[in-house]
Amino acid sequence: MNNAAQSPVDPTPTNWQGEAMQKRIKKRYASERRFKAIGLCAIVLSASFLAFLLIVMVGNGFKGFTQTELPLEVDFPALTGSAKASQYEGANAEANINSLGMQNIIGAAIDIEYGNDGSRLFSAGAWQIAKAAVLENPKLVEQKTILYLPVESEIDVAYKGDGSDGAEKIITQFGNKLSTGFNWNFLGNSDATDPMQVGIWGALKGSLITMFITLLLAFPVGVLAALYLEEYAPKNRYTDLIEVSINNLAAVPSIIFGLLGLAVFLNVFGLPRSAALVGGLTLALMTMPVIVISGRNAIKAVPPSIREAALGIGASPMQVVFHHVLPLALPGILTGTIIGMARALGETAPLLMIGMRAFIATPPNGVTDPATVLPVQIFLWSDEVNRGFVEKTSAAIIVLLLFLLTMNAVAIYLRNRFETRW
């Protein structure tokens, strides 16, 4: 077999310096560089998608935190027939103010200063600002004051640089009087028809209540189930079934959980529609498998030698778990929980199924109150035609992303801080 005649390789040792070979190698290196560049491009492209998305959202949304205002001189004594400040203090302040007819007062003040057409300039809910101002400082009703009230949405949009012709005209007319102020309404109000009046507080509160319920249910159940499966479960058909169920639940599309919530919580149990309670329950079912899986991984990462050590000095299996395994696995469990909660916080589809998309103008005060949540609010606003909603939607997205990124950052921090390798 060492017969040279039959081997083409033997007689002529490879000429590595030959021209053909050198060319070939050049080509191979070129392809190497190309491949590497493609890889880099893929990453840069993926990252720039993210950057682009964030820039678009922040670019649009940042305007949502400001509003355009016009000054309005209100001569309260004249318009109210000299109301007394003392009426608007204390327990009955709210009721008394309502009876004052603030809407008419402001309407009249607008007519005086800006003519009969003036009310077109102001946001329909502008008078509520005045009401709030008086509630805060009842002395106002005894004097002449200048209030800065939000303008009508079209004008607001136009003043921020993207308006229709009609609105532009008004802007040139009142340009010197218009000013920009921080939109406190946006942080304090709930849903509304007028984009100048909308706020995220209602949705945010709904989100917080929903998340609270989710956490309350999913965390203990998830952790206990993880403990059972990892530490105690005998290996048999039933525990396999549990295991398969959990793995599959983690992969079930979220909308299916919405169908479950609708069919079971609403139709069978008759829980109230649109309530944070049902939302929390539904999301808890969705989050629990995530917590179980991450919990099991964290528990698995606790070295068996620790368990042996504890068992070896006479700790009972329960003591081993609660004294050693659980504390050591806790950072990992918490990381998984935060990630699961972040997912739940951003979830929309299942909540649509259980009616958390109603128009709700006041923040919820309890778990059974009708509520909506941030992502659903974003979804609802995104459907609005009024251009004023574009910036509000993006602004709400910024708030949501801030929450989510904070949660993720905490999770990453926890993971790095407590990442112990034994």
Binding site: E94, A95, N98, Q103, A124, G125, Q128, S164, S190, A192, T193, D194, Q197, G270, P272, S274, G355, R357, A358, F359, I360, A361, T362, P370, D383, E384, V385, N386
Partner: protein, 330 residues
């Protein structure tokens, strides 16, 4: 005592008004609700479910877990009234809050054209005059129409706007064919199938109970046509414009005067049995009626005020709360 347990002795009451129903009335109801909440009342809970869906919920019974008010973009049907009665909802107050027209609209930057009920019918019916609908482009319907694909975003079958569309436009178009018209007496089912059924091959797109969505889709697809309540047209004149039907543009005056073919009244239905139980229910209805006046804020939002005599009647009705007998419905 048992009865008290069963019927809400424990279920109890609620402090906020619950409203369901028409997506056409929804924005008006929203505005009224906001106003209502702003003057010191608990904010009502509103859900836009479409007229038919709203009626279902409304008629499900009396009690805290059923809505107090159903908005409707058409009158309650006798069958729905029966359904209500069956479930114990016997005292229903009907209030006409104003008028709306179903607007056929397109984006401002689309190719401008006008339509007749006949053309609309032939373009979107499942079986125009009994034959399968083969049209793909508007020009297939009528050569005078532009050469663009038929793509109509419209309301779903549960919606009042859809009922208005079939009754006020499609049926009118359908009846232009004598043979089909004759069918009405001989074979009502067949007649309904021919005149009311909307095509399902993608040319007519059921956009759900969300008229805003249709406006958005029109903005994005200038070659599409949308069908929705006039108020949405009025609110979005910077992006969409109405298509003249039979030569009449959908304008306030045309609809108010009845010269526009697609005009129809809007209603709200209130459970009288809930008055005095749900705080503020009657006040809300009064507010609604007042807001629908010629200079009320609903008109600014695109509602067309009812004629004065009807308004007077409704102001009275909000006060005295007469209940429906069922005989006035069909």
């Amino acid at each position: 005592a048992c009865q008290d347990q069963a019927s809400g002795g424990q279920g109890g009451t609620r402090s906020e008004i619950r409203i369901v129903g028409s997506s056409t009335v929804f924005p008006f109801a929203k505005a009224v609700a906001e106003q209502f909440a702003g003057s010191g009342n608990t904010s009502p809970i509103l859900e836009s479910t479409g007229t038919g869906g709203g009626m279902k919920l409304f008629c499900a019974g009396v009690g805290a877990d059923t809505p107090d008010i159903a908005n409707a973009s058409r009158r309650m049907k006798a069958s729905e009234f029966e359904d209500c009665k069956k479930n114990g909802v016997t005292d229903i107050v009907e209030i006409q809050i104003g008028i709306d027209g179903i607007a056929i609209a397109q984006a401002n930057d689309g190719i401008k054209f006008a339509l007749t009920p006949k053309q609309v019918y032939e373009a979107i019916a499942e079986k125009p005059y009994g034959k399968k609908n083969e049209t793909k482009k508007w020009s297939d319907v009528d050569s005078s129409l532009p050469d663009i694909a038929i793509s109509v975003y419209g309301p779903p079958s549960t919606s009042g706007t859809r009922d208005a569309l079939t009754e006020l436009i499609m049926e009118v178009g359908c009846k232009t064919d004598a043979a089909t018209k004759a069918l009405k007496d001989s074979n009502e089912d067949e007649y309904k199938a021919i005149c009311h059924d909307v095509r399902a091959d993608g040319a007519y797109i059921d956009a759900g109970e969300n008229d805003n969505l249709i406006v958005q889709k029109l903005k994005a697809n200038p070659n599409s046509v949308g069908i929705f309540g006039y108020s949405f047209l009025e609110e979005n004149t910077d992006s969409v414009r109405g298509i003249a039907v039979s030569g009449v543009e959908p304008t306030y005056d045309a609809i108010a005067s009845g010269s526009y073919p697609g005009a129809r009244p809007l209603y709200i239905y209130m459970k009288k049995q809930h008055v005095g139980v749900i705080p503020g229910l009657a006040n809300y209805v009064t507010e609604f009626v007042n807001a629908g006046g010629k200079d009320g804020y609903l008109v600014k939002a695109g509602l067309i005020a009812s004629p004065d005599d009807m308004r007077a009647k409704m102001t009275e009705a909000a006060k005295s709360q007469p209940t429906l007998t069922g005989s006035e419905l069909k």
